[in-house]
Each structure stands twice: as C-alpha cells, then as structure tokens.
C-alpha cells in the first residue's frame, strides 16, 4: 500500500510539493498559499479549488493529517508517510539539480 502511494506521489506536481513541504509546520490552506506565494516571489499561486482538492487527497492517502481547528480553519500537519514521500522527492530533485549542473555521481 505504502509503496503504491510513493509511486503515485513521486514525482510530484509543483503545487503538491510546496503544500507537503509547508506542512512540516501545522498550517491551514490559505496560510500555505500565502507562504508559497512568498517563497516563490509571487510566481506560484495555488488557487482554492486546487488547494482543497490536494489537501483532501493527501489527507485520504495519509500523507497529511488533521492537526486542530483554529478560527474555523482546519490545520493540517505532515505524517510519517508524508515525510518519507517528501524525502524521496527531495532526493530526486537534488539529483536532478546536481546532474543539470554537470556534477554527475554514481551515488
């Protein structure tokens, strides 16, 4: 089951990656969107329909979990499985980056 999840999520969409990355700290949907906007200099804006859909799907797949409610907003946080998937993806991006710079390695 977990292997299947890992295959589905790696590689990730840019929105998916940032959402999971931001949820290493508890956060709600709109908060994530503001954070991502800041991190990308306003280039990546995750719209509400996409945000809601991604959060629902990640929660269902066990990558993130409900943390608590704050001012009527649901806060989420990454789970252990989510961390594993995020690390796989980070590793993939790192290799991609190194290779693109000509720093080949056999690992």
């Amino acid at each position: 089951m977990e292997d299947k999840i890992k295959r589905i999520y790696v590689p990730m969409t840019e929105s998916g990656f940032y959402i999971l990355f931001c949820l290493r700290q508890p956060q709600h949907g709109y908060g994530i969107s503001q954070q991502v906007k800041q991190m990308t200099g306003g280039e990546l804006v995750i719209s509400p329909g996409t945000m809601y859909g991604t959060l629902s799907k990640m929660e269902k797949d066990g990558l993130i979990a409900f943390y608590r409610e704050e001012e009527k907003r649901k806060l989420y946080r990454i789970t252990e499985l989510g961390e594993e998937v995020l690390n796989l993806e980070l590793h993939r991006i790192e290799r991609l980056y190194k290779n693109s710079k000509g720093e080949f390695s056999d690992e």
């Binding site: 969409t13 949907g29 509400p48 329909g49 996409t50 907003r73 649901k74």
Partner: protein, 183 residues
C-alpha cells in the same frame, strides 16, 4: 428594494465556461445574479455595473464548511448553488494577478472536476437513455394500438433529445479535457 428580473437560459453540464462569461457580462451591464430556480430561471438584481469574475465549481454536494472557508479566505463570495454546482464571484479589482481570478491553478484539478461531471452526471444520463428510453421505445413500437403509436412518438422524441444531449456533453467535456492536457 432594487429592481429584479428573471431570465431564462439553458446551460448544459459542459457549458460552465460560457455560463461564467455570461454572468460576468450581466454584472458588467448592471445586473447581478442572486439565485437560480431549477431548471433554468436566473434571478437578477439591479446593481452598479462592475467587472466581476464569476466561477463555477462542481462538487456534487461533497463540499463542507472547510471548503467554503477556504474560498472565502481567497476573497471569493459564494452566493448560489444549483444541481451540484457552486457559484462564486470576486470583483476583478480585488485580484492582483491573473491567477487570483481563477479557482484552479493546475490542469490536474480542472480535469478532476470534469471526471466528476462525467461520472456523476453524464453516466446517469447515458444509463437512463439505454436502460429506460430505448427499451420503452422498442416496447411501444411493437404494440399496434393507437395509444401505443402516440407513446412511441413521445419516447422517440425523448430518446433523441437524450442521445443528442449525451453526445453533445460527452464530446464537449472530452474537448475541454484535451485542451487542459495540452496546456
């Protein structure tokens, strides 16, 4: 009390982009939508002409409190629902970027919405067509009574209408999906 008017307009499940543009144009000419009465009555109220963006999302009643809170955080006003569709609007002046005027930011989520429409709206339409209308047509065509002839005509009209609608929506939704795929 502002003046009100009712307009009759029919949009299929594949015409949501046209409906968004039509509602936005009405608002621009000083009429904002207040509610929709099934199957095709749009109730408008007179207002200041303004450039307002309209967006439709298809959730098929799976929306919850969190969903509405999220849209309101992004500055979208929710004002009506109709047969699984949710209606949102936002003044264009409140959007900093082109993306702020949209409710989806990637094509995967647009395609996901179309898949929901196909599964929960088009599929039942096709099932009714093949499991009810077509057999009824055949059944009444076999009878020789005068009443049966009338029924055959009525069933045939409905069958054709259903077939046309299913085909039209199916092709159009598929085209929309292809367009999103290509982006």
């Amino acid at each position: 009390m502002n003046r009100r008017k009712t307009m009759v307009r029919f949009f299929t499940i594949a015409d949501y982009e046209e409906e968004e543009r039509w509602l936005s144009a009405r608002h621009q000419s000083g009429w904002k939508l207040t509610r929709i009465i099934p199957p095709c009555f749009y109730i408008f109220e007179e207002c200041e002409p303004q450039h307002v963006v309209y967006r439709l999302d298809y959730k098929n009643n799976s929306e919850d409190r969190e969903y509405f809170q999220l849209f309101s955080d992004y500055g979208w006003e929710y004002f009506a629902s109709f047969a699984g569709w949710l209606y949102f609007r936002k003044p264009a002046s409140e959007a900093d970027t082109q993306q702020d005027m949209k409710i989806f930011s990637d094509d995967a989520s647009r395609i996901e919405m179309i898949n929901q429409i196909l599964k929960t709206r088009l599929l039942p339409l096709v099932i009714v067509l093949f499991c009810c209308l077509v057999p009824s047509c055949i059944q009444s065509a076999r009878e020789t009574e005068p009443l049966a002839t009338v029924l055959t005509v009525i069933f045939s009209i409905f069958t054709l209408l259903y077939a046309y609608l299913s085909l039209h929506c199916g092709i159009k939704l598929q085209k929309l999906k292809d367009r999103y795929h290509k982006n």
